[in-house]
């Protein structure tokens, strides 16, 4: 009879050790805080608070969502979003946190649900704040394009209809001799990248497609999103020299 292969215990020991770094808990009085292997956008582990309640346990974010938002002065977004996210897990808004009242057999799932919703809510609000940054890039972009191409050739907040029949809103268009070039500000948030990518692909199907250029703060910071954007159109950085802007209008995908 064949015997089981001998496993190298170093691997399982190492993984056990790594798991202890990824998930941990601390108790204070009646409450236990579970640090989950999920991270808010700034790298803070998502932490869930478990405390006793009449039904069994109350599982909540323990005010951590509010705290993450407070650090960037965005705490007012908590009230606007908390009930929507709480509903997703049949939870309730407990003043400055989102939580659930559950029984023992639901505890593990409730911890996972609260952690997931906390992570998504903070990410969504952070992306809104990043979106404000996107508006800032767009404003700079318009001024920059006027300098590079001349004020009379640049049009801000331009609408363009694509073969899908959707009308897209782009940040700026430059009207050149017989051809247009589109410039659109993109933040490094996935929502901004995906929507721009879809828009550029759609516009590229036009009979005489304009050159499409995404303007980003930093290609490096985009990470894998850079490749997604680059498949759809040109990509330049906001701080690039004037000749880079001039070159971008020559290239159509």
């Amino acid at each position: 009879m064949a015997s089981n292969p001998v496993l190298d215990p170093r691997v399982s020991d190492a993984v056990q050790s790594a798991m202890a770094e990824l998930i941990s808990c601390q108790s204070w009085g009646d409450s236990t805080f579970v640090s989950m292997p999920l991270y808010y956008p700034n790298g803070t582990p998502v932490t869930v608070k478990v405390e006793p309640s009449l039904r069994g346990f109350r599982v909540s974010d323990g005010g951590m969502i509010f705290r993450e938002l407070e650090q960037i002065g965005a705490e007012r977004y908590f009230g606007r979003n908390a009930s929507t996210f709480a509903k997703e897990i049949d939870g309730i808004v407990l003043n400055r946190s989102i939580g659930l009242e559950i029984t023992l057999d639901e505890l593990a799932a409730a911890i996972a649900d609260v952690a997931d919703v906390a992570c998504r809510m903070v990410s969504k609000i952070m992306s809104k704040v990043v979106g404000l940054g996107e508006a800032e890039i767009a404003e700079h972009l318009f001024e920059r394009l006027k300098i590079v191409f001349g004020e009379g050739k640049v049009e801000k907040d331009f609408s363009i209809q694509a073969p899908s029949t959707k009308t897209w809103e782009v940040d700026a268009v430059v009207h050149l001799d017989g051809k247009d070039a589109i410039f659109h500000a993109v933040s490094n948030h996935h929502a901004s990248v995906y929507s721009t990518s879809a828009m550029f692909h759609d516009i590229a199907l036009k009979d005489r497609p304009p050159a499409t250029t995404a303007v980003v703060r930093s290609k490096e910071e985009l990470g894998p999103f850079y490749n997604i954007l680059a498949q759809a159109g040109n990509v330049i950085e906001e701080a690039d020299a004037n000749n880079v802007y001039e070159s971008a209008v020559k290239w159509s995908v």
Binding site: T47, G63, Q71, I72, M126, V129, A239
Partner: protein, 170 residues
Amino acid sequence: MPNPYLTLVESWKDLPSIVSWSEPDPTDGEMTIFAPLEIGNVTVGSFALRAACYVDRPESDVRFQLETGIPGQRTRLPLTRIDWRPISGGHKQPKKPEGGKRIIIKGSHFHALEDNWIEREQRMRENNLPYAQALESDPANFKELLDLVKIRFKINNITSIGTPKWAAKL
């Protein structure tokens, strides 16, 4: 062009004399400080110290942050932060540091201005100070934490805020 925030962080500063910890928030027990800062007798507009802790977590889960405003926006721009014994357990870097190892920082850590500033683009990194460093020497108590904040944030009279009125340890 030099980092415009470097002068704010690197200059010696003073808190107004009346600053102290707030009463615990009735909902979650958070105690906070949000105070303007003076540099050479000038209270610098929008520049502030933010601190927070929880009444039920004595000598733990305390953060100090220097921050400033963003023109035209209601949100704030964190410049540097110390997280002391955070309840979340630590911090994960957005990516492997150059020449360093990919690790999760355990416990107390420091978000340095320099690590979160992009020189070429003359701006702070997005997402609320994503880079941090482990503290070489973790303060043993709140008094030592204030000593560290004094050195890192260059606030002459930081000890004037006093110790938070934590509930007695259970």
